[in-house]
Symmetry: C2
Subunit: 327 residues, 2 copies
């Protein structure tokens, strides 16, 4: 069994390094074939890491924070935990990397450190959204804020390969997020992307998708620019968090409701688990020369585990080569 | 008491004309000072209208459907129920109009028939979103698909007046929807709008708002382009509809859950009612010479009532003049 080496930014995210280290250990227990290199402050990592034969530490002295300018941070902080993890991918020391840190910096590092695939103008972050019918792979959710039609076409092509080869969806349905399903909807960019994608006969393009359809899972792939994708994704998270807190505030107020919850709890729990983003912890940065996975900033160990799992699958299937050979 | 005359497109929306007529009657019962002119097919209207001394019918022969090209439909269908209602506003026969029909056509009609206010380049649809802390007035939710920074500034100025004078919010907080709260977020358009809005010292501008904050109501006014606003608004509706159907599917499966619901029902109902868009049925088209209110396409009588109520308040406060005097 050939080993897969994954570099993990131990200092990125709200719960770093403790939950990152826990997630790494969970991953080594679940996957026999992976080796992990944790990049970050050696003392801080050792303080919370349960030692494991397949986990090494690469000491680094800098950290990229959430509010730093992404490109500048990646350029200047040459010894940051995130940049070092990405340099290991470029050098081949690791086949992939995972970070729960500054999203913009991960995207910038993907381009400046790991490097863009030939034929890809802009990278894209894709996430498997939980929906009612089936997970929908939404691309882009924040890598490329505003797009040209050509960018959206490239996102569709990359997502199509990712969905077929990694998510194992046969002939995935692709829809373009728009402000309505009618032909006449969309602005110049969306209209332009529509005709470019339609022209690719190898893509199973099904036209526009509007906001209220997202939750029903009317498509395997949802193509949109990084601004819309980011707003929609965060809005969805916010609604789930908001409803949860409202529900429990209301229940606290009423004995009857508390009593009712005893019986309804399994249902509420089931719905919550189903729409819990932690299960969808691994967000691939598509369009770069390697497996670069972004984990949610609020990731705890289970989310880090699923991000590592996503990196592992992407490496096993050699996702980057598949994409470059298609483009 | 001076009478307020409101023209209502009786043929627009999924439940026209029956629910539109019911809503008109509800409005006449609630507001002594209004007179309503229903525009549409006289026979069809009479067939479902409970006669009322303050409701007149203006017979029209054409209907603008949901999938027609908005501007073309408004230009060509000179005897459509929607266009006639808007011409009554232009002529002064009515001070305001309400339609649950084709949103694009309402916007086009607002510009081509009712007319744009001097100093406003593009109109905007604003909607009071239900949130946890307080309603947030989101503008634009679909009138102007993509915007220049100047458009977003004008939306902020119009929303500020609407929030102060119509919604009676003192010194309303304004935030700009973006892909993060950090200074460096946003694309050229959003960044440009940010500096234009910041420069207006009379506006209480509080910077960026990201998607997950929408539901918490961290701002009185949320400024965004019509594409983002439309996607977010519909996504929110979709999630509520989706959760409702999932919850009841799950409950059907389990006797325990059914039993639990007996006790939890008031809480679930309370949450649902609170986030039910029907209570927010009236969406003003700001930037035109009169009171033009869009009702949700799925509107039933209660939503039509609240749309008429919104039109009435806008007319009473003379919203259009307030906006033009400020711009």
């Amino acid at each position: 069994m050939s080993k897969i080496t994954i570099a993990i930014d131990a200092m990125g995210g709200d719960h770093a390094p403790a939950e990152i280290c826990k997630g790494a250990v969970l991953a080594c227990k679940e996957f026999e074939d992976i080796e992990i290199i944790l990049t970050g402050d050696e003392d801080k990592i050792k303080a919370c890491l349960e030692p494991h034969p397949r986990i090494k530490i690469q000491h680094t002295t800098e950290i990229i924070t959430m509010d730093e300018h992404p490109a500048n941070a990646i350029r200047k902080k040459k010894d940051s935990s995130m940049r070092i993890a990405m340099e290991m991918v470029r050098s081949g020391e690791a086949q992939g990397c995972v970070s729960a840190g500054n999203t913009g910096a991960i995207v910038a590092g993907g381009v400046l450190v790991v490097g863009r695939l030939k034929g890809i103008d802009r990278p894209a972050l894709g996430v498997s959204l939980p929906t009612i019918e089936r997970p929908s792979f939404m691309i882009d959710v924040g890598a490329t804020v505003r797009c040209k039609p050509e960018n959206l076409l490239q996102f569709a092509l990359m997502a199509n390969i990712y969905a077929e080869k990694i998510l194992k969806i046969k002939n995935p349905e692709i829809k373009l997020l728009s402000n309505g399903t009618e032909e006449i909807k969309g602005d110049e960019t969306v209209l332009g992307a529509k005709s470019l994608i339609e022209a690719r006969k190898n893509l199973n393009f099904q036209g526009y998708l509007e906001g209220n359809e997202i939750v029903w899972g009317h498509s395997d792939i949802i193509v949109c620019d990084g601004f819309n994708g980011n707003v929609a994704l965060k809005f969805g998270e916010g609604i789930m968090q908001g409803l949860k807190s409202l529900l429990f505030d209301e229940i606290k107020k009423s004995f009857m409701a508390k009593f009712g919850l005893l019986f309804l709890a399994p249902v509420v729990k089931k719905l919550w688990t189903r729409f819990n983003y932690e299960k969808y912890g691994g967000t691939p940065l598509l369009g770069v020369k390697g497996s670069v996975i972004k984990a949610h900033g609020r990731s705890k160990a289970p989310a880090i585990l699923s991000a590592i799992s996503a990196a592992r699958t992407f490496i096993e299937e050699d996702g980057a080569s598949l994409i470059s050979s298609e483009i």
